[in-house]
């Protein structure tokens, strides 16, 4: 059994971090400095942190989409 303590430094598993940053976190309304299209690009970009584009396309379809507030 490995209970791994997540440290602040470089050794946090990148895939776990990106998984969380894409799927989680509160969005504040009025967060209007970037357009929705730009924010979407950032989320695609965060997936690119982990893998080349062709892999990412598949995983985008499988994963949760970011929650939004605009509707």
């Amino acid at each position: 059994m490995s209970v791994e303590h997540v440290n602040v430094g470089e050794d946090v598993a990148l895939v776990d971090l990106i998984d969380r940053l894409i799927g989680g976190g509160v969005v504040l309304t009025g967060d209007i400095v970037l357009s929705i299209a730009d924010v979407d690009l950032v989320y695609l970009g965060l997936r690119l942190v982990l893998a080349p584009a062709h892999v990412v396309e598949d995983s985008v379809r499988l994963s949760r989409s970011p929650r939004r507030l605009e509707e």
């Binding site: 209970v3 976190g25 504040l28 690119l48 949760r64 929650r67 509707e71």
Partner: protein, 262 residues
């Protein structure tokens, strides 16, 4: 116009209480400070607009190295906080023109944000993943089949065994998730990570997160150890990570409204 010309405000997360905190360094070593609106406090850094303004985010939206750099530093601040106090992570890109504008946003959404903070108060997130590390092939074999019929019968029996083993594992994983969910306040099962992304070749059978009360962390880990030993007999392994800032349990104000009204 910005209060300080040429700067933007990067918001990391919200905290409810303000005990004496040791504030870490923020993005690129910028100081982290606490801005406050009503009962809600937010951890922020003022950053140079030419380094982290909207145009720069736009330009780097598909730049993995730049995003990783920001993501790691954003996380580092939240991780340093969760080790000291309860924190509600904010989603990237969390940039605002200035502190006053951000404080207005917080005041406008004080009620749902306070509810969201209440959800995670006294809790941290633990991650749990189950991998299939040893998919045992059926031990028989070696004897040459005596006929075509014999060969087909064996193949069929092997397929049945494999399917039974798969179903058995599935049930064990569901039981494991249920036990850990029971030991936590909230639980979420996320899609397993693609092995191309995780770099792990073993199939991932569970990718879950649990919101665990701080005072029950040891109990949860003891339970996980027990589950891990149970799963090992069927070639599976359980890996627990944390404590994480509660990314998976940071609901948006709108989600909260839906929850409240529904």
């Amino acid at each position: 116009m910005s209060a300080a010309e040429g700067t933007v405000v990067h918001a990391y997360g919200l905290i409810a209480d303000r005990p004496t905190l040791s504030l870490p360094e923020g993005v690129d070593g910028a100081p982290v400070r606490i801005a406050r609106a009503g009962d809600v406090s937010v951890l922020v850094s003022e950053l140079r607009a030419e380094a982290y303004g909207p145009e720069v985010w736009r330009d780097h939206a598909e730049d993995p190295r730049w995003l990783e750099h920001v993501a790691r530093q954003h996380h580092a601040v939240l991780q340093a906080m969760v080790e000291q106090t309860d924190v509600l992570p904010l989603r990237l890109p969390g940039i605002h023109p200035d502190i006053a504008t951000l404080e207005d946003v917080l005041r406008d959404q004080e009620a749902p944000l306070t509810r969201a903070l209440d959800t995670v108060r006294g809790h941290v997130e633990l991650g749990a993943k189950v991998f299939l590390v040893d998919e045992r092939s059926t031990p028989e074999a070696e004897q040459r089949p005596t006929s075509g019929r014999d060969y087909l019968a064996r193949r069929s029996a092997e397929a049945t065994n494999r399917e039974e083993a798969r179903l058995r594992r599935q049930n064990l994983v569901l039981d494991a998730h249920e036990s850990m969910a029971h030991a936590s306040t909230h639980a979420v099962a996320n899609p397993p990570q693609d092995s191309a992304l995780s770099g792990r070749t073993e199939p991932m059978l569970l990718n879950a997160a649990y919101l665990v009360p701080r005072e029950r962390l040891d109990d949860f880990v003891a339970l996980a150890e027990q589950i891990h030993e149970g799963l090992a007999a069927d070639g599976m392994t359980l890996e627990v990570s944390g404590p994480w800032p509660p990314y998976n349990f940071a609901a948006t104000p709108d989600d909260m409204k839906v929850g409240q009204d529904g």
